[in-house]
Symmetry: C2
Subunit: 305 residues, 2 copies
């Protein structure tokens, strides 16, 4: 199956207790594309960058086999830039700078050659743009949406429309509570699924991830990461691993959704080990498989005797 990824391509400045980087390739579409490229092909990217975008970063995406027909360089300005600082416990962060630049005028036009894509990954962008993508694709097998608190509070109506039209919503526990107004995650899930999506995945960081349909279907452990260097992009990477696995296997059964959640967990775990996409781009298939098997063993509950 083919994967279509729509989202931001950005440069990030990151400060964390582990160190800092002034400018590294980031953005939701970048992380989703790179992560899913380890599992499947074709991965088709729709995004926009500015006149400062480095050829080496374009090369990085090409080296991962990402189809860049929908990747546009807007010479009128600079690339979206975000700068943030993580707190000591890595669980919170402050935004220090946001320069939308050319991303402010991002209009996701889906190339004809992308329109028949099977799996649609709507990275975290303005909800009305996510809807615009859904209006252009012709034959999706599975549509997946990520969002964040900024849109939950600031673009509620458009977000509800977008959510009502997708198959899978992937958010974290804090966002699930904000979106539903509930506290207990099972209650959150019931409330959110009433808004439309058949499946809801709640990411809980170090506590793993949960997959809900009409009830909790699957509870996945997190991969234990000894040292978290940079959490940026972990959620996007989760979506990339999830979608990439489904595309590779061509199977969207509930059993295989479990494997997809575990692949999302595995890829996200690698992502946070180094700054930006550094750890992801040096990954091997055997490393991914090894962590899948480790997680499987970690969560294994033996039969009663």
């Amino acid at each position: 199956m083919s994967v279509l990824v729509v989202g931001s391509v950005a440069y990030d400045g990151i400060e964390a207790p582990s160190g800092k980087v002034d400018r590294t390739l980031g953005g939701s579409a970048t992380y989703i594309s790179v992560a899913s490229s380890f599992l499947t092909s074709p991965v088709r990217l729709v995004g926009t960058v500015g006149n400062d975008f480095d050829d080496n970063d374009r090369q990085l995406l090409e080296n991962r086999g990402v189809d860049l027909e929908g990747f546009k360089k807007d010479e009128s300005g600079r690339t979206f830039f975000w700068k943030g600082r993580y707190h000591d416990d890595m669980n919170g962060r402050d935004t220090l700078d946001t320069q939308l630049n050319v991303f402010e005028h991002f209009d996701p036009v889906i190339p004809d050659s992308y329109k028949d894509s099977s799996i649609i990954c709507l990275g975290n962008i303005e909800p009305s743009l996510q809807v615009k993508v859904l209006d252009q694709v012709t034959n999706p097998k599975l549509t997946i949406l990520d969002t964040m608190n900024f849109w939950i509070s600031g673009a509620r109506e458009a977000l509800e429309e977008a959510i009502s039209r997708v198959d899978v919503l992937i958010i974290n526990d804090e966002e699930a509570r904000d979106l539903s107004g509930k506290s207990n995650l099972a209650d959150c899930a019931a409330e959110i699924r009433n808004k439309g999506p058949k499946y809801l995945i709640i990411k809980k960081g170090e506590h793993g991830a949960q997959l809900y349909s009409d009830r909790l279907l699957f509870s996945a452990p997190a991969f234990p990461i000894p040292t978290i260097t940079d959490p940026t992009g972990a959620g996007d990477t989760f979506m990339g691993g999830f979608a990439g696995w489904l595309s590779r296997s061509g199977d969207i059964s509930e059993e295989n959704l479990r494997r997809a959640v575990v692949h999302g967990t595995v890829l996200a775990g690698f992502c946070v080990e180094k700054f930006g996409t550094e750890r992801l781009t040096e990954l091997s298939q055997s490393e991914i498989d090894e962590r899948y098997d480790t997680l499987q063993k970690l969560g294994e509950i033996p039969q009663r005797v």
Copy 2:
């Protein structure tokens, strides 16, 4: 295998968003004994109560088949009483009243007929008393200790001695951080295991439980409870389910420790559904088995394909 339980027997007054009870049977030894009695026999209790202790509550323990030779009624005063109020999110609570009463002079004398017990459950009491119990037992196969923040900050030295002498320490994530001074749970576990215990179980409430030895061995999901009525005793009940399963099976292999953790999870899940021990005392074996199987399915990660 036989189980020895040493801890508090108390009356609790509980206020929660779900309602309130003025006086219900509680205490660590009560919850541990009742929970383990659903899985194994004999369960031997050492505890003390006062002159106000109700015959019906003694009867409740007898009905569960708990051996009460070590259960003493001290006519000089009243039973330990604790009163608390849970916050709206059920994740915190305030203590409104603590009357130690006869429990202030609790001296755990282990009857001769109990001394050869195989599994020793040291419920949450003063650490020096936990050590005193360890000094009296003659042939333990597995010693298990629970504690709380009160002792971590207030009786550190005695607690470290107690911990150094047990096989399994069971604490929650907040206690693990306090005891180790670390933030990341894997770091907490490494630090705490250096203090002596071969195994460490970290209870994470709605996020499940983790079993560590020299590394993370097992990550168990929580059982999804739609409505939590009263969290009191959930941790003690976890220990009772854990110890009860090990006793029933007579097997302390690492594979079977997983089953024990899941039984602890299952029993603790029932515990919180009603006030006090109410839900526990109406349990059936088939209900326990059904939830075990549900948890097994919930956490199942299919093989890669």
